[in-house]
């Protein structure tokens, strides 16, 4: 991940549908504060919504850490989703459009990756999953 200063760090536990909404609101607030354009705000909020729901549904709950980042003069929003669920066995497959191990559309993880500027997926079977994403202001 790019070296950058982080400010306004906030952590939200994810254990219910309401928490997904709270994560979305935190991200929206951070995106507005980082002066992202309306399109980029919507993109990062939607990506956060997908990843938070994955944390809840596939990771069995976890947490999201939202913070604003500054890299030189560039502002951005970083969100780190952590769960201690079963992990992802085949990352390539999980990132394929249309593949789902559940009942969704199979676009959440792969779509979220396209919606953000930086995407780091760290997972191992039985060791949980961590997804870190960054969206930079243009």
């Amino acid at each position: 991940m790019t070296t950058s200063e982080a400010t306004d760090r906030q952590v939200q536990a994810i254990s219910s549908d309401e928490d997904v909404v709270r994560v979305r609101q935190l991200v929206r607030t951070a995106a507005v504060a980082a002066k992202l354009s309306l399109v980029d705000q919507t993109k990062v909020v939607t990506a956060a919504s997908e990843l938070a729901r994955n944390t809840l549904v596939y990771g069995g709950g976890g947490s999201a850490e939202v913070c604003r980042v500054l890299n030189g003069s560039r502002h951005g929003v970083r969100i780190v989703f952590t769960d201690s669920g079963p992990g992802i066995a085949d990352v390539e497959l999980a990132l394929t459009d249309g593949y789902t191990s559940g009942t969704g559309m199979g676009l959440g993880l792969s779509g979220a990756r396209r919606l953000v500027d930086e995407f780091h997926l760290d997972t191992a079977v039985g060791a949980g999953t961590t997804v870190a994403v960054v969206k930079w202001a243009r």
Binding site: T42, K43, T46, L107, G111, R114
Partner: protein, 285 residues
């Protein structure tokens, strides 16, 4: 267990012998913090019922809130907590009505005189009253939770209206978060409205949905498919520029479903299609 059998019996007897004095003082102390929101007569009726129930429980052999003989007392306390919760009293104000008995007992039992046996009894009775108060507190919070759940359900119903926009055109304006529970309500309402009004066109307006993610899209698509099975055509409207770009990046495809930027566009489209249908019917006839 809060008391031993003798202490319970002595309390029961005290409640019988000084019945009037205790009930008057209890209702006075209980009504004071309610600041006139409950009349003295109502407060007196509540404390009177509690006193009678407590006395019969104690004389029947109850030694605590959990005793088998306290079943009716528990029911009464629960009922009291519920009605207070509905009337908007706080949990403290509700429990205070029970704790007020301590003051009344203190005076009736002449604890001031300072004999040790009376003091020991009073401490044990106090513990019983604490138990009753805590029971009230718990019943109160349960009642509040029920009220909140009921309000949530009411909100769910309120926030999903299906409106008739034109002859043969119904619309569902979606506002807020579209979770699975709401999506289910929306689908049911829309399908019912299609049958009730005999409308061949339905507009689903997502202007008020702040984030359209795959879950929202999936719910909307399922609703559209269900409406199609019933022979109705759905139009999705309220797709703002930022939502459109996000949907494309996310990779969601709406296929051959008609989508429009605004509700007005969607209505115009539906009305034109409907007029075309009617002209076609006339030509055939």
């Amino acid at each position: 267990m809060a008391l031993n059998a003798e202490q319970a019996e002595r309390l029961g007897q005290l409640l019988s012998t000084h019945s009037d004095r205790i009930s008057q003082r209890w209702s006075e102390v209980a009504a004071a913090p309610l600041k006139g929101r409950l009349t003295v007569a109502e407060a007196a009726r509540h404390t009177g019922e509690l006193q009678a129930q407590l006395r019969s429980a104690l004389l029947a052999g109850a030694t605590g809130v959990d005793s088998v003989h306290s079943a009716e007392l528990r029911a009464l306390l629960t009922e009291l907590s519920r009605s207070r919760a509905r009337m908007g009293f706080t949990a403290s104000e509700t429990a205070t009505s029970v704790f007020a008995l301590k003051t009344a007992l203190y005076e009736a039992a002449d604890v001031e005189k300072g004999d040790d046996a009376a003091l020991r009894d009073y401490v044990a009775w106090s513990a019983l009253i604490d138990e009753l108060g805590l029971f009230t507190f718990e019943a109160y919070s349960r009642a509040r939770e029920e009220i909140i759940t009921a309000q949530g359900e009411q909100l769910l119903e309120l926030s999903t209206p299906v409106v008739k926009l034109w002859e043969g055109v119904v619309a569902v304006p979606l506002v807020g978060t579209l979770d699975s529970a709401r999506a289910q309500v929306v689908m049911e309402r829309l399908l019912e409205a299609l049958v009730d009004t005999g409308s061949p066109y339905a507009i689903i307006d997502i202007t008020g949905v702040p984030a359209v993610d795959t879950q929202v899209a999936q719910h909307v698509l399922k609703t559209v498919m269900a409406a199609r099975l019933m022979g109705a055509e759905c139009i999705i409207s309220g797709i703002r520029p930022q939502i459109a770009q996000t949907i494309v990046t996310l990779g969601i495809e709406f296929g051959d479903i008609v989508t429009k930027a605004s509700l007005a566009d969607a209505l115009r489209h539906a009305v034109q299609r409907r007029n075309a249908d009617q002209r076609a019917v006339k030509r055939e006839a």
